[in-house]
Symmetry: C2
Subunit: 441 residues, 2 copies
């Protein structure tokens, strides 16, 4: 299920390594053995390709697989429902999920979205939803690396009839998947406004006990900020800090409404942050102060958010948006330049997940999560600056090949580990059920 | 050179008509004869397909061709140069153009960008640059509809050694192309800060004399606003108004720094506005008040801006950005909903160019500018709302077919009127010259 026990010789491309020196090898080769990168550099210095499968990049860019640090992949089944509706989370999304989300829906919608992610060069994703065990099964089948958070909320959830039932679900999920080479189970308290103090504190302890990450929406909503200010005189970040959740385990999604003091707290606690520029723009929620995070060397990665929020899994355009929204907000075109945005999509995402020792860059000793980006399409030519072409020009359709843990998931634009027609058929049936059910909602 | 003298029967798709009632025909057909749309509606009511070429939309969306109201297509040769550089227009772009822009460069770079536009579903574009006659030749070869503005500036330009030499160039350009079925020559005073009062007023008269549109950058730059405030106590819009340029002929690009009074002036004069949300974000220049324009029923279309500004010709993501930047700026997710954004990309663009009687929607009597968008890719499924899938999910890679004036420019993702390999070869040589020349710049 993990990397194949064989050698790969990926060559004839420009290697954008994202190593600490940010080296680019213009006539480069990457060698892989048993799922681990063994060589990254100019082709002239590469070891023998004997016994290795040769992969031709056809003059394209060889890059680290993209890392999506925040999503809810099974929500693809609801894509294009209620996009521009005000106050939709409580008015629309929660009721929708209560009505329709089943184990079967989560599994097939996850595979559908994994198909999209594979085609777009994503090698690792961090997800939070219900029936997360089905997301894990789908990810395992697809061969993707994943950090998967079982959602915990203070109301009955699709996979747990009692409030906070996700805690029980998590335990069996963790027992099954902990130690998996690609899948990291974790706890996902939904948000400060959907759990009480006691359960949030309990999750902090459970995370220690199980030694797992914690992912949560944090400082995303106006009403979240005002409610905590009124109740405790605290910001959302201060609130999580008091309850013991601000630790290196935390992957905090959004972090829009944060003060300079909050940024110091997040920095001191070494938390990871998942920045979702497209979803945040579309929601009109405000702009996360990413330039300030970066000035403090915070661990910041990028996320698409779920397909009802960001609509697609297109990490290329999320990266592009990360470069642009801060220029727009700060009225300064030099903010978050292309090279910085591409860092956020790769090594930054790895840091946000505290996985930078194994993924996020092309370096000997790291796991072989690698994408090949074609430069054939007209919008990808010329290339005076490879970071600019990746961030300002590329789209998911330019991804030709993808490897995760040394296993090939995409070959010449075609997915290898999933069955697109079967997925579309199964999801099609589920969508028809939703369509019919919506009429009576 | 214009529409073929034959019948088309485009069927098996969802027709998003953008007609005044905004009708969508879920099992729809569009019939075309001699480049003119003859029928738009449910397939059940369509006339006989006898003698017509049958075009299968394979269950995709049949939409009006997209309209790009502001670009400089030949700048694709400089793509990814100096993207994140401050104050780059005068420090970098003008010297770059003075050094490298030739007739040959403009022609081949135009064809390269036309290739990209055709693949992305654009059927009409409004361009301003130097050697605009070569852009016209390229557009004519490609079969695209175009409004082409010869640039006029107060310094020596690549195609005119004397300041304001563009005026002379325009005259012969107009003589050659006026009356062309697809190409509308026009005058393009660069901006309030690159021409003097006398020449701007002269251009207003010349536009009347030649009966042509005028396109110009307007209210785009901070320094433009402050200089006019200091010199005349006027806003850029007031300045153009005083000089006689605020007329229905004007297509004003950007209009970022406008007051409520300016909006009234633009509205009273019935000007067209080209909104470039991606380029404006990336430049950190501020946000054009599009919701306020729309409240006054102003003629607003969308543009990519040039490939050194917006980087690509991807009108799908420009449309998506138009839906999102105003939500972000106004902190309101209901602003510029998907249906409104898609209007801007189609009938809105036609209105901005004052061409809404002939293009911008699928209606009997209009010219047959039609794109087919595939729903096959995973990011395009499911479709609960066709506008949302077009605006929030689609990319240029989803465009399967394109017709302009009834002529097929793209068939099943392959361009028919241009030679991609020859273009890449020719532009490759020019790019190598630029690369070498840059070392001594």
């Amino acid at each position: 299920m993990s990397g194949d026990n064989k050698k790969l010789y990926i060559t004839n491309g420009h290697v954008v390594s994202m190593n600490p020196k940010r080296e680019i090898f213009t006539n480069g080769t990457v060698c892989v053995e048993n799922g681990v990168i063994r060589y990254v550099g100019e082709s002239s210095g590469a070891p023998s390709s004997e016994g290795a499968e040769r992969v031709d990049a056809y003059g394209g860019l060889i890059i680290p697989g993209l890392i999506n640090t925040h999503t809810h992949i099974s929500m693809s089944v609801f894509r294009t429902l209620a996009d521009d509706m005000a106050d939709r989370l409580k008015r629309y999304l929660f009721p929708l999920e209560a009505r329709f989300v089943t184990q079967d829906l989560v599994y097939w919608a996850a595979l559908h979205t994994l198909h999209e992610m594979i085609r777009g060069g994503t090698s690792t994703f961090a997800d939070m939803y219900y029936f997360e065990e089905q997301v894990a099964e789908a990810a395992e089948q697809a061969g993707m690396r994943a950090v998967l958070g079982e959602t915990v909320v203070n109301f009955p959830a699709p996979d747990a009839p009692e409030p906070y039932g996700g805690l029980g679900y998590f335990k069996s999920f963790a027992r099954r998947f902990q130690g998996h080479p690609l899948i990291t189970p974790c706890l996902a308290p939904h948000a400060p406004y959907t759990l009480d103090d006691e359960h949030l504190a309990q999750i902090a302890s459970m995370a220690d006990e199980f030694d797992v990450p914690v992912m949560s929406h944090l400082a995303e909503m106006d009403f979240e900020v005002s409610a905590l200010a009124e109740k405790y005189g605290e910001t959302p970040v201060q609130y999580y800090h008091r309850l013991g959740l601000l630790t290196p385990r935390l992957i905090a999604a959004h972090c829009i409404h944060v003060t300079p003091e909050d940024i110091d707290l997040l920095s001191d606690a070494d938390c990871g942050i998942a920045h979702n520029p497209i979803a945040n723009m579309k929601a009109g929620k405000g702009t996360s102060p990413v330039p300030e995070f970066l000035a403090k060397q915070l661990r910041v990665g990028l996320g698409t958010d779920g397909p009802m929020s960001g609509n697609t899994m297109d990490m290329m355009h999320v990266t592009s948006a990360a470069a642009k929204v801060h220029k727009m907000a700060g009225r300064d075109r030099t903010l978050v330049p292309a090279s910085t945005a591409f860092e956020l999509a790769t090594i930054g995402g790895a840091r946000a997940l505290h996985m930078e020792d194994s993924i996020g860059s092309l370096e000997p000793g790291k796991r072989a999560d690698i994408a090949i980006v074609s430069l054939d399409a007209p919008h990808m030519f010329p290339v005076f600056d490879p970071y600019a072409v990746l961030v300002y020009c590329a789209g998911p359709q330019d991804v030709r090949d993808l490897f995760v843990d040394g296993r090939r998931l995409l070959r010449d634009y075609s997915p290898l580990t999933i069955d697109p027609l079967e997925i579309r058929k199964q999801l099609g049936n589920i969508v028809e059920g939703v369509r019919t059910g919506l009429k009576s909602l």
